[in-house]
């Protein structure tokens, strides 16, 4: 009991100092809602999300969850307050998640978010703001990744459109992703016999009103996808070669100083179009220029895949203690999250949070 009170006091003291730092960087403190409409979470992340959230039904049968994540809560705040310009938020609070055994885990966090900013230095401002309170910790390690790079890699591969979509959409689901690579290697996903039979039935379908609905989809939508699918390259798209490129790409691990050149030479070595990658790498270039000298930063292409709402730069700050890696902070860009939560369009957004539970133990 005494220890718990001491920890609470420590967290409060630390949070005051860190919040002051955030405020100096023009972040405005916000109180986040503790409860979230569960349907917003399931609509965005799918049914599996419910397993990790403490959810109950109110008297009207509506499902409500304890906030599992403070970034989602901040994004919801932005939407609820009907904002349409740049907002810089900071917060202090807890996130609540159930572990695999169903026990409730509480994560005390202090963080900041920049939503809807046109400033191309937003990443630097945000990452700097998170690193600043931690800079005195010895042997601090920063891992940087960019999940958007994978999308560019996939776009440059010679692959059917359906495979490109699958690879990108399932990038955050590691186990299934590995399974998909195996399928891609063997080109297994189409049944030639069934296609022959369905081509015969297509003629009947084409006689129907193209706008009529069958199971929530229009006839024209079904016909269009069927025709596209049978014309998509099937047997000659070098599955094995592409899988090797993907695996090699995901093994890239270099210092931030060498990240840009390593990625560019990877693209040219594999004869991939490097037009869009050159432009995209400017972001990494800026981070390297401003933050790369102050901290030890490693760049990994395979990093940041576990959170499905990240769309670009991702980072993790850690320290080694008794040969154990202690995660102190993490964050990333989430340019698509607000739209999936109900905002009218995609907006640039980046955020990060410091893990107070670990920080007080250092």
């Amino acid at each position: 009991m005494k220890q718990a009170l001491e920890n609470k006091r420590l967290k409060e003291d630390l949070s005051k100092k860190i919040l002051n730092n955030f405020k100096k960087n023009k972040f405005n403190f916000t109180d986040l809602d503790l409860l979230i409409d569960t349907s917003l979470l399931t609509e965005r992340s799918g049914e599996q999300f419910k397993k990790f959230t403490l959810t109950y039904k109110d008297l009207f049968g509506k499902e409500i969850s304890l906030r599992p994540d403070l970034t989602v809560s901040t994004a919801l705040k932005y939407i609820q307050e009907k904002k349409n310009k740049e907002e810089k938020y900071c917060y202090y609070g807890s996130a609540y998640r159930l572990d695999k055994g169903g026990d409730l885990k509480v994560f005390d966090q202090i963080g900041c978010e920049i939503i809807n900013s046109n400033n191309n230095k937003s990443e630097n401002i945000l990452i700097n703001s998170i690193l600043e309170p931690l800079k005195k910790i010895k042997k601090l390690q920063v891992v940087l990744g960019d999940v958007g790079l994978f999308k560019i890699l996939v776009e440059s591969l010679e692959l059917p459109a359906r495979w490109k979509l699958r690879l990108v959409k399932n990038f955050s689901r590691r186990e299934y992703f590995e399974d998909m690579l195996k399928r891609l290697e063997t080109n297994y996903d189409l049944d030639q016999q069934a296609i022959k039979l369905d081509t015969k039935r297509l003629k009947d379908l084409e006689k129907l009103d193209p706008n009529s609905i069958i199971g929530g989809r229009t006839v024209s939508e079904i016909v269009k996808r069927f025709n596209k699918k049978i014309k998509d390259p099937r047997d000659n798209y070098k599955g094995k070669k592409n899988v090797k490129i993907i695996k090699d790409f995901l093994n890239i691990n270099s210092s931030i100083q060498k990240a840009e050149s390593t990625i560019l030479s990877f693209f040219s070595k594999n004869k991939l179009s490097n037009l869009s990658i050159k432009n995209y790498l400017r972001k990494i270039h800026r981070i390297n220029k401003e933050i790369g000298k102050k901290y030890s930063i490693n760049f990994k292409t395979n990093f940041g895949r576990n959170t499905d709402y990240y769309t670009g730069v991702v980072f993790l700050v850690s320290v080694k203690k008794n040969s154990k890696i202690i995660e102190l902070a993490r964050g990333g860009e989430y340019n698509g999250l607000l739209r999936t939560l109900g905002y009218s369009k995609d907006v640039p957004a980046i955020g990060g949070a410091i893990n107070l539970n670990e920080l007080i133990n250092l």
Binding site: G46, Q48, R166, R173, D179, I195, G215
Partner: protein, 223 residues
């Protein structure tokens, strides 16, 4: 010694076939208190106290220790959280009550042959309509784990209590998962099973409580 408590399905083909199975083992079910009474006994056997229950209820009652033995469907056990399988053990799979839990789509979705297609269509659906595809089912847990194992993550489960086959045509869902033995009801409702869309092959089973001790009744039905 306390009596062994068994549960049998209270209606339908599963009830008839369970009674026939017991009879084939010389265990005849008798209702001393009349046809409408839920309690029964086994002729010339004083070890047993029986009750007719809904097939789902049988598993629940074995799980909470009210029943020692019961006949029910494998699908019903598998749908429940894993902790049930720790308390409710499969003693024997029976030769009746065969049915598959399957993924069924409107038959005119010609572009969808397999789960990989469904994965792609679900992404397109989300982009186009700004919401997830809905899957109507009486088996939300099995459906969810199967869809996720096949890479389909952009869906939402719509719980159904019956007539699930009608859902895609009333605007209540886009597709369904349901239990079927011949597929004829699905076909009659303009639905088609996806090629690799078999979630579970089910049959009737004898379930026992994990706390049950060896007894004569189990020896009789084992053979």
């Amino acid at each position: 010694m306390s009596k062994i408590k068994i549960g049998l399905p209270s209606k339908g083909r599963l009830k008839d076939e369970s009674l026939a199975f017991l009879k084939s083992k010389n265990l005849e079910v008798v209702n001393f208190f009349g046809e409408r009474n839920y309690f029964f006994n086994i002729k010339n056997n004083k070890e047993i106290d029986g009750i007719f229950l809904h097939a789902r209820e049988i598993i629940e009652r074995i799980n909470d220790g009210t029943l020692d033995i019961g006949i029910s469907g494998l699908d019903l056990l598998k749908e429940l959280p894993e902790v049930y399988s720790e308390n409710v053990k499969i003693f024997k799979k029976l030769n009746f009550g065969f049915a598959d839990l399957v993924v069924a789509i409107p038959k005119d979705w010609l572009d969808v042959q397999n789960m990989a297609d469904l994965e792609e269509v679900s992404f397109e659906f989300r982009e186009k309509y700004g919401r997830r595809m809905r899957v109507a089912t009486k088996y939300p847990n099995l459906t969810e784990s199967f869809f996720l194992s096949k890479g389909v993550s952009q869906f939402r489960v719509v719980p159904s209590l019956g007539a699930t086959e009608s859902y895609p045509f009333t605007g209540s869902s886009e597709l369904i998962t349901d239990i079927t033995s011949t597929g004829s009801t699905l076909q009659a409702n303009n639905l088609r099973i996806i090629n690799d869309g078999i979630i579970l092959k089910s049959s009737a089973c004898i379930f026992v409580s994990k706390k049950i001790k060896k007894n004569n009744f189990l020896n009789l039905i084992r053979r």
